[in-house]
Amino acid sequence: MERERSDWDRMVKNLQWAIAGVFVLFVGGLIIWIIHLIRTAWWLGDVPSASIGISLVAIPVFLVLLGVVLYVFWGLLTHQREE
């Protein structure tokens, strides 16, 4: 019974960290995409300043979102019981 319980808890925890991992991949993918667009604009001499300007706003926004999500996941999952 005790073992079943711990297996269940482990599976739940793994899935929770997997969700956090998917979110990291999602935000990472978006940032890579934005950097790819800057690189393309740079190579083609196609007004790279526009891409850089927009990415200076967009990338920090996505990073803040990622930070908030990881903060919540870390904070809640590591403090499930009152110490």
């Binding site: 196609d46 891409s51 919540v72």
Partner: protein
Amino acid sequence: MVEHKDVHEEILLAPIAQTGPGFYWAVAGLAVFILWGAIAYAVQFHQGLGVTGLQQPVSWGFYVTNFVFFIGISHAGTLISAILRLSKAEWRRPITRMAEVITVMVLFIGAGQILIDLGRPDRMMNVIRYGRYQSPLLWDATSISAYLTASVVYLYLPMIPDIAVLRDRLKKRKLFYSVLALGWTGTEHQQRILNRAIAIMAVLVIPIAVSVHSVVSFVFSMTLQPMWHSTIFGPYFVVGAIFSGIAALIVAMIVFRKAYGLEPYLKPIHFRYLGQLLLIMALLWFYFTFSEYLTGYYGAEPEEMKVFWAKFIGPFWPFFWAMVLCNFVIPIACLARLSQRTVGKVLIASLSVTVGMWLERFIIVVPTLSFPRVPFPEGVYSPTWVEWGLMAGSFALFALFYLLFTKLFPIISIWEIQEGRETGLKEVEERLLTYLPDEAEANILAVSTRGR
């Protein structure tokens, strides 16, 4: 005596625990429209965009109208909910969840309109591979991605304590709720973390939401097309978005209030406050519309005037005047006095605004393209059954997503209602006292005034 906590949980979890025949009837009804939409899409996918009414010069029609409309409605949620949360408006508590769900659902549907408009969805890969940040279309893609991500996070975070209730009380979907509850046990530490994260998100989503609709307007205003090239398009679109968002929220509230018996939570006072907000937005919308058209008329630029008169007395006059009727005349008539029959009046005004704001988006998109600046022949747009089907399907899909959400999660935040009862009342009293002059200070001041 039964505790308040248990009573709230019982009432608000009832739609998830039990499913009546009404739900299946609603799903069946929506499925008919979704099927119509699916068939329409299959025909368009197979035969190409030629089956639609889109042609040169009118290359944007219902799909882009729907895109702007749905993205506008998305402001219901996150923006209204975040503003009410940050301003500590206590009456927000039963409303915020409904608003946040609207945002997430319509953003998916709105973004989907662009895929439909592309004709060939595989061309989306071109945006990923060869996108150019000089184009406002790509600004749109980026800001909508940010808004969708932020909205999902902002919807999810305040749901965590309620998901933990579902995990502990419901016998079904144990794994699903256990995973999403993130081990929530309601410790002080967990509450501190969650409150901090919600506060950060509430601050973050406001500029993102404003940027999204500004950027949507830039798709039009960055061109030199008549009646699109306007400096006030950004704020005009944002105002329209909040306006239609509030209307959509009120309609959703009234539907679910009736369907799930939520009258004790969604009281006439909530509708009165939202009705007042809607009235303010109606006046603001009229102000922006008036400014926009007056400036165009005064400039009297020939190409601009062609579009102007096409809207006022030309082929688009029924849509233009219906828009004015739905967005201004009817809401003002309904919302000017809300002391009696509040819910009914607010519902009529909201339905009217929803229709009116769709017409507004149509009136912005189509007439300009029908009378282009470049020497194209003028064109008339007439949507085919494919476009009507996809529009009906999109609306039905949104309603279905919303309905399914209410069967998985409580549509009114349980913990926020409890928090309102347990700590909110005391907090409001304390806050109110800080607004008023301090008694001791007032007495000292009175004595010194007398002495003088």
